[in-house]
Every structure is written in structure tokens, then in C-alpha cells.
């Protein structure tokens, strides 16, 4: 490999945030010069291709043509989440896919957009070089929205995070015994809506921002929650901690219900299908009647 590293930047359908950050990497503080790296203006002069954004119909052929012209070692770096999974633009009609569907990609730099520090470290990693990291700007400030972290103790598996997620990055997968909550941070727009909406503050965005990877399938953070089985048919249908959390909330809000808690718990452990059976409906009606009577007396 020659010593000089020349990067050709190819922006396809993205928001250009990543491009601004690459531009920013040229600032001496980020030490791109230390790595003997330059940004060049034509693919013929370059040996590294940096792609930002997903690829749309108009960019497909252009990307292929540019890739052909890159000099060996033909390193391809996909910068930003759009270049990894198309992120929030996934499902847009002109999109044909992330760049690795069209050309081979060696390294992915997740982030939306990645900090310049992350981009520079990615380039250093690609070149097998180390950067001096003692200056204070390497740490993200307090309140930075970076990589997710689950608190397994707190998570009740309710799935609120998946519902509010702006870019469909969170999947809820019900298995045989456990519910899997899977955050694909390569698909995430780091809006932190999940953190805001989580009723138990179980999901958090940490200060960690170095998420460099060479395998697009490994960009996941997962958490497992035990599912309970229906007390009648035995089907697994709801996370155990969610029921306990709901009961705790009810007793906190209306403490007169406390003596009915066993009955309520029994009713909640029946799956939606079994609840519709006649005798169960009768039982449920009876319980509701008792509860409303208590509530009425209490109100007076």
C-alpha cells in the first residue's frame, strides 16, 4: 500500500450531515493530516472510497462507475447509518438500497451522523494506525445521544420504545419463552424518543460513539424478558414484569383496589383468546362490578 491515502467522497441520497462532518475532519484538531490523508476530487486519484447516504435510482450507476475507477487497495468505507441501512429513508420509493448491495464495503461507521472523531478513528483503523487521543475533545459531553444501553433489571418488555421509534430500529420478537427486544443501532436515528418514552427508564443512550464495525449484521443491542403463559391454554403472550409493573402502578394510584389484587392478577394472566370465553367474561364482569363499586364508595 502506498503511503499516501486519498479519499474520494461519494455522497448519495442522505441528508449531507455526514458530508459536513467529513469536511470538518480536515480541521487540524482531528488529525487527518497526521495520518497522511487527503481528500481528492476525482475517483481516479483516490484509493479509498467514502460513501455517505443510501443509494437511489439515480446514483446506482454512478456509484458503480466511481468504484471501478478507484485505485487499489480499493478500500470502501460506508459513513453514517444511511450508508449502512438507509436508516429513516428505508422504504422511500426511489431508494435501491444501502451501498453494499451495489459495491463491496469494507468498513461501516454507524452514527447519525458519526462524530468526526469516529470517522477519523475509522480511517485510522482501516490503515492500522493509532491516533493520540489524550486531548479532551475525544469524550462526548454529558447528555450525548450515542450507543444504547439496556438495564435488564428495569426493562418490562412493553414495547413502547418500538412504537415511538422514528426509524423502525427496534424490533420486538416473541420467542417460545422469552421476548427479545432488539435495537439495531445501525438503523437508528439517535432521536432518543425511546429513552423519553420508556416508562421504567430502562433504555438509555450513552456517551459511547465509537461503533465501527466490518459486519453489518452485528449492529445490535438486545435485551430478553421472560414471557408468562396463559393460565388456561398455556400460550405465552405477555412479559412477566409488565404485569407486575401494571399491578404496582394500579395499587399506587388507587390503593383501595389492593384487596382485589389477586383476582386482578388472575384475570391478567389469561390470554386475549381465553378472555373471550363465556365463563371468563362472566368472571371478569363480576370483578369489574366489584371494582367500580369500591371506586364509587371511595369517591363519596
Amino acid at each position: 500500500m502506498s503511503n499516501k491515502i486519498s479519499i474520494y467522497r461519494f455522497m448519495s441520497a442522505g441528508c449531507n450531515g455526514c458530508d459536513v462532518e467529513i469536511f470538518e475532519c480536515l480541521v487540524p484538531r482531528y488529525k487527518l493530516g497526521e495520518l497522511n490523508v487527503e481528500v481528492v476530487s476525482s475517483p481516479e486519484e483516490a484509493n479509498v472510497l467514502a460513501i455517505t447516504g443510501g443509494i437511489n435510482v439515480k446514483g446506482r450507476e454512478e456509484l458503480k462507475a466511481s468504484y471501478e475507477k478507484i485505485q487499489p487497495p480499493k478500500l470502501v468505507v460506508a459513513i453514517g447509518n444511511c450508508a449502512l441501512t438507509m436508516e429513516i429513508f428505508d422504504g422511500g420509493y426511489p431508494m435501491v438500497g444501502p451501498p453494499d448491495r451495489i459495491v463491496p464495503v469494507n468498513l461501516y461507521v454507524p452514527g447519525c451522523p458519526p462524530r468526526p472523531q469516529a470517522i477519523v478513528s475509522a480511517i485510522a483503523k482501516a490503515l492500522d494506525k493509532t491516533l493520540s487521543m489524550e486531548e479532551n475533545y475525544w469524550d462526548a459531553p454529558e447528555g450525548f445521544r450515542g450507543l444504547h444501553e439496556f438495564d435488564g433489571e428495569k426493562c418490562i418488555g412493553c414495547g413502547a420504545c418500538a412504537q415511538v421509534c422514528s426509524s423502525k430500529a427496534i424490533d420486538i420478537i416473541d420467542g417460545n419463552e422469552k421476548r427479545l427486544i432488539k435495537v439495531n443501532y445501525g438503523h437508528c436515528s439517535f432521536c432518543a424518543f425511546c429513552q423519553d418514552e420508556c416508562p421504567t427508564e430502562a433504555i438509555k443512550l450513552t456517551k459511547k460513539y465509537q461503533m465501527l464495525t466490518d459486519n453489518r449484521n452485528l449492529t445490535n443491542i438486545t435485551n430478553e424478558v421472560q414471557l408468562i403463559s396463559c393460565s388456561i391454554c398455556g400460550r405465552r403472550f405477555m412479559p412477566e414484569p409488565q404485569i407486575e409493573w401494571a399491578i404496582k402502578r394500579v395499587t399506587e394510584k388507587v390503593n383501595v383496589y389492593e384487596k382485589f389484587m389477586d383476582a386482578v392478577r388472575r384475570a391478567m394472566r389469561i390470554c386475549p383468546d381465553c378472555r373471550r370465553e363465556t365463563e371468563n367474561i362472566r368472571d371478569a364482569k363480576k370483578l369489574l362490578l366489584q371494582l367500580s363499586t369500591v371506586a364509587r364508595i371511595n369517591r363519596k
Binding site: S12, C15, N16, G17, D19, E21, S41, N56, K58, G143
Partner: protein, 374 residues
């Protein structure tokens, strides 16, 4: 014999891909075409598949440079649809965040201008000091770009006393950066000679092609949504609408340079007069109605139209971004200019093609080229 010169689409000197087809004779540009669509992502369609809250993140990603102002315009329009009153403190905070964004956008533009004019020293100084704004935004909002600070019904993060101190400290540094930029634009400045008299857009032409923002103000038209149709707390803050009469690239630069001082002063005033109270309220239910919203983005007037059908997802969202309005101005400015000035003229409107490409009615399906006829 005229020849055709292509600029773009994928040229790293231009921050974003776009093809400019220039008809050149004797090194003089006699005609120009713009081809759009390299950043088209189908966002207006995607808007209708997400809830009002989720769309905030999508609106932000229309453009990575003026990301905050997109969420502001979107949130203000949705607030009209959901009939949500915004707390006073949130209005002031919005002004602070948006002026910080205008600062980093204008500084970035000067960085790009220096890069285009091969003024390496100026480029480095501007980009290094621009980091102050980026660091501040990261500290205040949690991200350098795409900070998602505006939400329907207010803002998401407060500025505490400790943070306000930091803002004041950074503003001091920014004043010196703005002074430096002004010195580049004075009679002996390194920029002045290269951009004076280049790409003139007369007042009449500017109005004719419907230019907005600094491009229009550089041609002597006093137009600023912050003053003409005040939103957030701009009605209560004191600032001047900067105009220059010459209409060339130099005038546009001067407008932007002087605007950075105004922005710093607006932030100063907003921090001083920050009212106490809530920073956000819970939004109401969406009503069945249509609404429009407009704000002054760093590049000019940004316009949103939203149609609601009462569900939690909008039925139609239409966006008109400033760069789209200014694209026609590029063609006007290019005509009759020398070829080597083409790039600086294109850069002079601060084009943001990520914005523009979302709006263009590109015939992706038929592959037909959209051409701007003169």
C-alpha cells in the same frame, strides 16, 4: 462554436451532488441547465407513513446543515393543527438554538467559500473556530448535527444557568471569528478581489426568479420572515434585517457576515430575557384541517404545508426549501460570466441539494430529465 461543460454530479468540491450543464463559448457562459435528483429520497411520501412525532426526525433529515430549522417549521405547523400553545420560555429557547444554527451554517458557508477560492489559511481558521458552535450545540442538545431539539409543543432540553454561562463564553469567541471574516471582506481582504462584481443578480431579476434569504437580501430587497411574519420570540427581540445593494457574490457574502453579528446579538438578548416556566407542553389531538408554516432558515424562507385528516399521521406534507427557490437565481447569475467563476457563483447561494432534491418533481419512473429553460 459553443461547447458544453459539465459540473458534477459527484464532485467533492461541491458539497453535494448535482449536475450543472453549462453552454460555454470563448470561456463565457451563455446558458445553463440544472439537473436535480441525485439526493432524491421520497421524503414527502415517507411523511405520510409516520406519526406526527416520528416525522420530527424525518423533517430534520431533509437537510443536515439546516436541520433544526426544519423541525421548527414542522413543529410550528403541527402546533397549529393540534392547537397547542407553546410556553414563552420555549419560544426564547427556540430562538437561541435557531440562531446558533444560522451561525454554524453561515460559518460553514464561509469555510466552503475559502475552500473554493483556495484560501487555505482562511479556510482552516474559519473551520477551527466554527468548532466552537458545534461543540456548544453538542453540549446543549446532545448531537453536533441533527440535534432534534424542537418538538411539538416546545423544546426538548432546557438551558440552565450553567449552560447559559457557557453560551456567553462561546459568543465571545464567535465575535472575534466574525470580525476576522469581516476583515477578509474589507478593501484589502483576500476574498474581496476574487468575488467583487462576480455573478450579479439585479434587484429586478432577483424578484422575478423568486429568490429568498441572503440571495435576495444581497440584491437590496428587505425580506426576512423573522421580521415580516414573526414566529417564536422574534417579535420581541431587536435585530436588523441586513441588505446590500450590489447583488454580486461579494454582496451576498457581506450580508451573511453581517448577519452573524445580528445572530450573536439575538442570542445575547434571548439569554438575558429568558422567561421562567415550562419548556414544553403535551400536544393536543390533531384536528381535521390544513395549515402552513414558514420560517427564515439560514438560506431563506422555508415553507411547510401539512394536511391533517384527524389521525395520528399527516395526509400530505409539502415542503418548499430555500435552495429550491434560489436554484433559478443560479442560472441568472451564471449567464455572461467567465467559466472559472462558475463554481463560486453556484456556491454563492449556499445551495443545499439535500433540501432541494426532496422537493423536485423528478420523473424517476420515466427517467425523463427535468430541464430549467431560460
Amino acid at each position: 462554436m459553443p461547447r458544453i461543460v459539465n459540473i458534477g454530479p459527484y464532485r467533492p468540491q461541491l458539497l453535494e451532488p448535482e449536475r450543472f450543464e453549462l453552454l460555454v463559448e470563448n470561456n463565457k457562459i451563455i446558458d445553463a441547465n440544472i439537473e436535480l435528483g441525485y439526493v432524491h429520497r421520497g421524503i414527502e411520501k415517507l411523511f405520510t407513513t409516520k406519526t406526527y412525532m416520528q416525522n420530527l426526525a424525518l423533517a430534520e433529515r431533509i437537510c443536515g446543515i439546516c436541520s433544526g430549522v426544519h423541525t421548527l417549521c414542522y413543529a410550528q405547523t403541527v402546533e397549529k393543527i393540534t392547537d397547542t400553545p407553546v410556553p414563552e420560555r420555549a419560544k426564547y429557547l427556540r430562538c437561541i438554538y435557531m440562531e446558533l444554527e444560522r451561525l454554524h451554517s453561515h460559518y460553514l458557508w464561509f469555510g466552503v467559500l475559502a475552500h473554493t477560492l483556495h484560501e487555505h489559511e482562511a479556510f482552516l481558521r474559519i473551520m477551527v473556530e466554527r468548532e466552537h458552535v458545534q461543540d456548544l450545540l453538542e453540549y446543549l442538545t446532545g448531537n453536533r448535527i441533527n440535534y432534534l431539539i424542537n418538538t411539538v409543543g416546545g423544546v426538548r432540553r432546557d438551558i440552565t444557568l450553567k449552560k447559559a454561562e457557557k453560551v456567553r463564553e462561546v459568543l465571545k469567541n464567535l465575535r472575534s471569528l466574525s470580525d476576522y471574516i469581516m476583515s477578509l471582506l474589507d478593501d484589502n481582504g483576500v476574498f474581496t478581489e476574487k468575488i467583487k462584481g462576480v455573478g450579479v443578480l439585479t434587484r429586478k431579476k432577483a424578484l422575478e426568479v423568486g429568490a429568498v434569504g441572503p440571495t435576495l437580501r444581497g440584491s437590496g430587497v428587505k425580506s426576512d420572515i423573522r421580521r415580516d411574519d414573526p414566529y417564536a420570540a422574534y417579535g420581541e427581540l431587536d435585530f436588523e434585517v441586513i441588505t446590500e445593494d450590489d447583488g454580486d457574490v461579494y454582496a451576498k457574502s457581506l450580508v451573511r457576515a453581517r448577519e452573524t453579528f445580528e445572530s450573536i446579538s439575538i442570542i445575547d438578548q434571548a439569554i438575558e430575557n429568558l422567561p421562567e416556566g415550562e419548556i414544553s407542553v403535551k400536544p393536543g389531538e390533531p384536528l381535521v384541517k390544513e395549515e402552513i408554516g414558514r420560517v427564515e432558515a439560514p438560506r431563506g424562507e422555508l415553507f411547510y404545508y401539512i394536511k391533517s385528516n384527524g389521525t395520528n399521521m399527516p395526509e400530505r406534507v409539502k415542503v418548499r426549501t430555500p435552495s429550491f427557490a434560489n436554484d433559478y437565481a443560479i442560472i441568472e447569475m451564471l449567464r455572461g460570466e467567465r467559466l472559472e467563476n462558475a463554481r463560486v457563483i453556484i456556491e454563492s447561494i449556499d445551495p443545499c441539494f439535500a433540501c432541494t432534491d426532496r422537493v423536485t418533481v423528478i420523473d424517476v419512473k420515466t427517467g425523463r430529465r427535468r430541464e430549467v429553460q431560460l
